[in-house]
C-alpha cells in the first residue's frame, strides 16, 4: 500500500503548478471564458508541448503511457485553476474511448494527433428523456455502404463547439435501455446533417445541443458492443472529475480560510467565532473525505468492472455531496462578496455543481453503489 507520487509524477505536478501559477491566474481565466472559443488555442498547444495531452495516452500512439495517477495529477491542478481548455472532453473522454474501443488503425490515426493537439474530440452521449442512464439511447446508427448514418438528438455535449470530431453514442440494434446494440461513431463536426446549437454553460464552458440527420459516420470499433467500453471510460472520467473537484475544493477551503482570518465584524475577525471555526473544520473534513475517495477511484480505475464501478460510484457520491456543501459554504462565509461574479468563489461553486451533475448526481451513484455493494456482500 503506497499513497506517494513517484518522482516522475511529482515532476509532472510541479510543471503543471509552475505553468498555471504564471499563466492561469483567475483574471486570465476570466478573459479566456469571455472569448468566443471560451479557452485558448495557444494554451492547448502548450499542453501538447509540455506532454500533458499525451501523458496518459498509449506509448504506441504518441502518448507517454501514463495511467490514472498521472491523469489525477493533472485533474487536481486543472480543478484548482478552473482550467477551461477541453482536456476532459478531448483527452479523458475522447482519447479514452478511442484507446479502448477503436481498432488499431483508428488508434494510430487519431491518438497521435490528439497528443499533439492537432485535433479535438467531444463525446455526444446524453439525450433528453434518458437523464443519466447511458444505455437509454434513442439516437440511431444505420448501416450504409460506406459506414453509418446517424439520426437523433444529443444534448449538452460538452466542448462540442470547438471539437473537430464527435464521438456519438448510438444504437444499431435493440430497444431503449438495452446494453447490447450500442456503438460509438465518429462524425465530423462539420459534416452534412450535423446541426449544432452552441451555448455557454453555467460554469462558463461551452457546450451544444446537436441534431443529427443521416449524418455520415464510421464506427469506432465494434458497432454493437461499445457499452462496456463506455462504462469503463466513464468510470475513469469520474475519477478525473473527482480529482478536479478536490482541486477546486482545496482552493475554496484555502480562500475561505484566508478570508475569515481577515474579514472583521463586530470588531473581531469572523474566524474568531466558534461557529465559523467549526464550519471550516467541516469543510476540511469534506475535502479530505473527497480526496480519499478520488484516490480510491483513481487507483481502481483499471480494476475489474465491479470493483472499478463501485469505487467510481462512491467517489461520485462523495464529490457530489461535498462539492455542493463546500461550494455553498464558501459563498456563505464570504457573505455579499461571495455573491459577486467578480470573485472567484462563485465560479468554483458553479463548477462543482456541474461536476455533481455530470454522469448523474450523488443520488444516482448512491443507488448504483448500493446495487454493487449489496451484490458483493450477498
Amino acid at each position: 500500500m503506497d499513497f506517494q507520487l513517484s518522482d516522475e509524477q511529482k515532476l509532472l505536478a510541479d510543471s503543471l503548478e509552475g505553468w498555471l501559477r504564471k499563466q492561469y491566474a483567475f483574471e486570465d481565466w476570466r478573459k479566456l471564458v469571455r472569448s468566443e472559443l471560451g479557452y485558448s488555442q495557444a494554451n492547448w498547444q502548450t499542453f501538447a508541448e509540455m506532454g500533458w495531452l499525451g501523458v496518459a495516452l498509449p506509448e504506441d500512439h504518441g502518448g507517454l503511457g501514463g495511467g490514472p495517477v498521472e491523469t489525477m495529477v493533472i485533474a487536481e491542478r486543472f480543478g484548482a485553476a478552473l482550467v477551461a481548455e477541453p482536456y476532459f472532453s478531448s483527452i479523458v473522454l475522447g482519447g479514452g474511448l478511442v484507446a479502448i474501443a477503436g481498432d488499431q488503425a483508428q488508434q494510430a490515426e487519431i491518438l497521435p494527433k490528439l497528443a499533439e493537439g492537432r485535433i479535438k474530440l467531444a463525446f455526444a452521449f446524453a439525450e433528453h428523456g434518458s437523464r443519466f442512464a447511458l444505455n437509454e439511447v434513442a439516437t440511431k446508427a444505420t448501416k450504409t455502404g460506406a459506414g453509418y448514418a446517424i439520426s437523433g438528438k444529443k444534448i449538452v455535449v460538452w466542448d462540442a463547439p470547438g471539437a473537430d470530431l464527435l464521438i456519438v453514442l448510438a444504437r444499431t440494434a435493440g430497444g431503449s435501455g438495452d446494453e447490447n446494440g450500442l456503438g460509438l461513431f465518429l462524425v465530423d463536426n462539420k459534416a452534412a446533417g450535423v446541426t449544432r446549437r452552441d451555448y455557454r454553460t453555467v460554469d462558463a464552458r461551452r457546450a451544444a445541443d446537436i441534431s443529427f440527420e443521416n449524418a455520415s459516420a464510421i464506427a469506432l470499433g465494434d458497432a454493437e458492443a461499445a457499452f462496456p467500453h463506455v462504462m469503463a471510460v466513464v468510470d475513469k472520467a469520474i475519477a478525473y472529475l473527482a480529482a478536479e473537484a478536490v482541486g477546486a475544493m482545496q482552493v475554496l477551503h484555502e480562500t475561505t480560510l484566508a478570508y475569515v482570518k481577515t474579514r472583521k465584524q463586530f470588531g473581531r475577525a469572523i474566524g474568531d467565532f466558534q461557529v465559523i471555526q467549526h464550519r471550516m473544520v467541516d469543510m476540511m473534513i469534506h475535502l479530505e473525505s473527497a480526496r480519499s475517495l478520488a484516490l480510491l477511484a483513481t487507483l481502481k480505475a483499471d480494476a475489474p468492472a465491479p470493483e472499478r464501478a463501485k469505487a467510481a460510484a462512491a467517489a461520485k457520491v462523495q464529490i457530489g455531496k461535498s462539492g455542493r456543501w463546500v461550494g455553498q459554504q464558501a459563498v456563505q462565509l464570504h457573505g455579499g462578496m461571495g455573491m459577486t461574479d467578480e470573485l472567484n468563489v462563485g465560479h468554483y461553486m458553479k463548477r462543482l455543481m456541474m461536476i455533481d451533475t455530470a454522469f448523474g448526481h450523488a443520488d444516482y451513484h448512491q443507488r448504483r453503489f448500493a446495487a454493487l455493494a449489496n451484490a458483493e456482500a450477498a
Partner: protein, 396 residues
C-alpha cells in the same frame, strides 16, 4: 382552536383571486416566472394596478392609504399573488420606509412621501450596508456633517438592491463620531438625484444586476429629511427591521416554487418513469414539502399571536432562518430535476427569436438558485439570526 377560514376570509380570498386573475397581465406573470431580475416597469405596472384597486400598501393603516388588512388577510393576499406568479411587491417603500415615515415622520414628511410611495412615483432603496459593516450595522462609517440646515454626507454603501431604479434612498449615517457605535447614527431620506451620488452595478453570480454600490461624495441633504431625532437612527432602523415579520418566511413564494418543482419532476423522465416517482427524488421533495408545511403553520401561529395583540418577539428570526433554508433547498432541487439542462446559461435578450434551450420550464431556474444563495446572507445572515435567538430568546 381551528384552522378554518371564516366566511369573511373566504369572501376576501375570492375577491383577491378574481382581481389578480382579471388584472395581472399574462406576459408579466410569464416574465416573472422566467427571470430573477425584472425590469423596473414590470414592478411598477403591477404595483399601480394594485394601488388603483386600493391595495398598494397591504400592510398600512387605512388613514395613510393602506388596507387595514389583518394578518390572515395579508396571508391570503400573498398566497393568491404567488399562485398567479405576480411580481413580488417592492418592499423598500411600502414595507420598509413607509411605516417608519408614518410612525416617526413629521407631518410634512408624511404628506410628501406617503402618497408618492403609494403611487410609486418614488422608488426607494435602502442605504444600510457598507463594505466594512455587513451584518454588523453598528460599525457603519458613512458620515453626515452638519452644515447649517443641511448635512453633508460622505460614504460608501454596498449591496444596495435596485439602487439603479431608485428615486430616493433611506440611509443610515453617522452624525456623531464621538458617540458609542449604536448611538450617533441618524436616519436620512436622500434624493438619489442629488449631486455627489454615484451608483455602480454589482453583477451577482447569476450574472444579473440586482445590487449596487452607492458612493456618496459630499452629498447635501436637508436636515428636514432626517427622520426623528439626530442620533436616534438606530431606533428607527431596528423598528424597520422588526416590522417585516409576516412575509419574511416567504411561505407563499416557496409554495409556488414547490408546485413548479413538482410540475417539472412530473415532466422529467428517468428510466421509464417520471422523476417524481423516483424514490430518492420523491423523498427529497416530500421532505422539503413537510418542512415548508411546518414553516407555514409556525408562521400562522406567529400571525395569530400578532392578531391577538401579543406582539412578535425575536422568535421571528426563526422564520427567516427556516424560510431562507427552504427557499434554497427548493431552488436547488429544481436545478437537480433539470438534469443536464441545468447547464445551459444563456440569457437571451428580451424579444430574441431564438427558441429557448431545453424545456421551457428550465428557463431562469439556475439563475433563481444562484440568486437565492443570498437569502441566508442578507437581512442579517442566518448565523447572526441564530445569535439573536440565542441571546434574546434563550438568554444565552
Amino acid at each position: 382552536m381551528n384552522l378554518e377560514l371564516s366566511d369573511a376570509d373566504r369572501a376576501f380570498q375570492a375577491e383577491v383571486r378574481d382581481f389578480v386573475r382579471s388584472s395581472l397581465p399574462p406576459e408579466l406573470a410569464e416574465r416573472n416566472r422566467r427571470h430573477m431580475h425584472l425590469a423596473k416597469q414590470d414592478y411598477v405596472t403591477w404595483h399601480r394596478l394594485l394601488n388603483k384597486r386600493g391595495w398598494g400598501a397591504p400592510n398600512w393603516p387605512k388613514e395613510f392609504g393602506g388596507t387595514d388588512w389583518n394578518p390572515v388577510q395579508r396571508y391570503i393576499f400573498d398566497e393568491e399573488c404567488a399562485i398567479a406568479d405576480a411580481p413580488p411587491l417592492v418592499p423598500f417603500g411600502i414595507s420598509m420606509v413607509g411605516p417608519v415615515i408614518y410612525t416617526f415622520g413629521t407631518p410634512a414628511q408624511k404628506a410628501h412621501y406617503l402618497p408618492r410611495i403609494l403611487s410609486m412615483e418614488d422608488w426607494w432603496c435602502q442605504g444600510y450596508s457598507e463594505p466594512g459593516s455587513g451584518s454588523d450595522l453598528a460599525s457603519l462609517r458613512t458620515r453626515a456633517e452638519s452644515d447649517g440646515d443641511d448635512y453633508i454626507v460622505t460614504g460608501h454603501k454596498i449591496w444596495t438592491t435596485q439602487a439603479h431604479f431608485a428615486d430616493m434612498m433611506f440611509c443610515l449615517v453617522r452624525t456623531d463620531a464621538q458617540a458609542k457605535p449604536q448611538e450617533g447614527i441618524s436616519f436620512l431620506l436622500i434624493d438619489m438625484k442629488t449631486p455627489g451620488i454615484t451608483v455602480r452595478p454589482i453583477i451577482s453570480i447569476d450574472e444579473g444586476h440586482g445590487v449596487n454600490e452607492v458612493f456618496l461624495d459630499g452629498v447635501r441633504v436637508p436636515k428636514a429629511n432626517r427622520i426623528g431625532q439626530e442620533g436616534k437612527g438606530w431606533t428607527y432602523a431596528k423598528f424597520l427591521l422588526g416590522n417585516e415579520r409576516t412575509t419574511i418566511a416567504e411561505v407563499s413564494t416557496s409554495k409556488q416554487r414547490l408546485r413548479r418543482l413538482k410540475t417539472i419532476a412530473r415532466a422529467e423522465m428517468a428510466q421509464g418513469a417520471s422523476l417524481l416517482e423516483d424514490p430518492a427524488f420523491r423523498d427529497k421533495v416530500a421532505a422539503v414539502e413537510i418542512e415548508l408545511l411546518a414553516l407555514e403553520y409556525t408562521n400562522l401561529r406567529v400571525l395569530a399571536a400578532e392578531t391577538a395583540g401579543k406582539g412578535v418577539g425575536p422568535e421571528a428570526s426563526m422564520l427567516k432562518i427556516r424560510g431562507s433554508e427552504i427557499q434554497q433547498t427548493i431552488t436547488e432541487l429544481v436545478c437537480e430535476a433539470l438534469g443536464y439542462y441545468a447547464a445551459p446559461f444563456e440569457h437571451a435578450p428580451e424579444g430574441s427569436n431564438l427558441a429557448p434551450l431545453g424545456p421551457d420550464y428550465a428557463q431562469g431556474r439556475m439563475e433563481s438558485f444562484l440568486y437565492n444563495r443570498a437569502t441566508t446572507i442578507y437581512g442579517g445572515s442566518n448565523e447572526i439570526q441564530r445569535n439573536i435567538i440565542a441571546k434574546m430568546v434563550l438568554g444565552l
